[in-house]
């Protein structure tokens, strides 16, 4: 099932959070896409085990060996919108502004943030190749992940009815966050303020006649 807009917005906020955690806590300024897929995989797996519905990516088994098409799309869009530098991801000032202004949202979700922090702190310091190998050798049902067929679902969004807790974000904060992370609004606002920077401005009579 496709992500809801709310799930997508929360996914993106937490993705930016993980990138920031790698930099601020572990000194990793640039993080590869492969490693991001592992960190988000481990985080969501742990959250789902604890029945906390916060991350909502679908991860399947692929070559490296966990992959989410939605995460790739989010990372690409966050680069396009100048929240991140790519292809090795690092934060731009806009990301820091979001993380600064939504600290209270993180504080309102202590369990989610503790679980994500623990997974990121455990796996981020590991070299990407070693992390890939470790994930390949991870036990999965009767075997290991590497033995699964490509495309096998590994982690998927927790069904709301199974969740013990949900990511808690008030309507006002959600609206502000959705506005910040919306590609359409970002492009439109950038265009409007670039016009104003060029001195292009209309009077009330010009707009309303």
């Amino acid at each position: 099932m496709a992500r809801t807009i709310r799930e997508k917005v929360i996914n993106r906020l937490l993705t930016l959070y993980v990138i920031d955690r790698c930099r601020s806590k572990h000194g990793i300024d640039h993080i590869s896409e492969t490693k991001m897929h592992k960190l988000m995989f481990y985080s969501e797996k742990k959250l789902n085990e604890c029945r906390c519905k916060s991350l909502n990516y679908l991860f399947v088994k692929l070559l490296y060996p966990t992959y989410s098409a939605e995460l790739r799309k989010d990372l690409n869009e966050l680069v396009e919108l100048n929240f991140l530098e790519g292809p090795f991801f690092c934060e731009r000032r806009k990301t820091q502004m979001i993380l600064e202004d939504f600290q209270e949202v993180f504080a309102n979700n202590p369990e989610t943030m503790e679980l994500i922090n623990a997974e990121v702190d455990e796996h981020a310091p590991i070299e990407t190749e070693a992390l890939v190998q470790q994930t390949k050798n991870m036990k999965w049902r009767n075997g290991i992940i590497e033995d699964l067929k490509n495309g096998t679902p590994l982690v998927y969004p927790l069904k709301p009815m199974r969740a013990r807790c949900h990511f808690n974000i008030g309507e006002e904060d959600y609206e502000d966050l959705a506005i910040c992370l919306s590609p359409e609004v970002s492009k439109g606002m950038a265009q409007a303020f670039s016009e104003l920077r060029r001195g292009q401005r209309l009077t009330n009579a010009q707009v309303f006649g």
């Binding site: 807009i5 806009k94 502004m97 979001i98 202004d101 939504f102 904060d173 609206e175 502000d176 966050l177 959705a178 506005i179 910040c180 992370l181 919306s182 359409e184 609004v185 970002s186 439109g188 606002m189 265009q191 409007a192 303020f193 016009e195 104003l196 920077r197 060029r198 001195g199 292009q200 401005r201 209309l202 009077t203 009330n204 010009q206 707009v207 309303f208």
Partner: protein
């Protein structure tokens, strides 16, 4: 601040003008009413946005749509000029409000 209560003058980004030509008559009327309210007191029932838009205010039009704008006197007083960077700031009267963008609910 709030030196010009009842006497603020709106000006507009061209992008906002283009947006106005694409919205319904109902929403146009809501925008007109809101701008009229803002010219009386742009601080009333409006808030700063967050993140990269933290130097701009939003006003509620209805359940889902918002108006993004800047109050020139406030922008100068709080040092937001360096972020909003309107090129004609030096010649723009203090009692101006700049209506920049219509944030439509289906876009976010």
């Amino acid at each position: 601040m709030r030196k010009f209560l009842g006497n603020y003058v709106p000006s507009y980004a061209p992008t906002f003008d283009q947006q106005m030509s694409t919205i319904s008559d109902d929403l146009k009327q809501q925008v007109r009413n809101k701008i009229e309210n803002l010219t009386n007191d742009p601080f009333h029932n409006t808030k700063f946005m967050k993140g990269q838009h933290r130097y701009r205010r939003k006003a509620r039009l209805n359940d889902s749509d918002r108006l993004a704008f800047v109050i020139c006197e406030e922008c100068r007083e709080l040092g937001h000029v360096q972020y909003n960077r309107c090129s004609d700031c030096a010649t723009t009267p203090e009692n101006t409000i700049v209506i920049a963008y219509l944030i439509l609910g289906h876009d976010y």
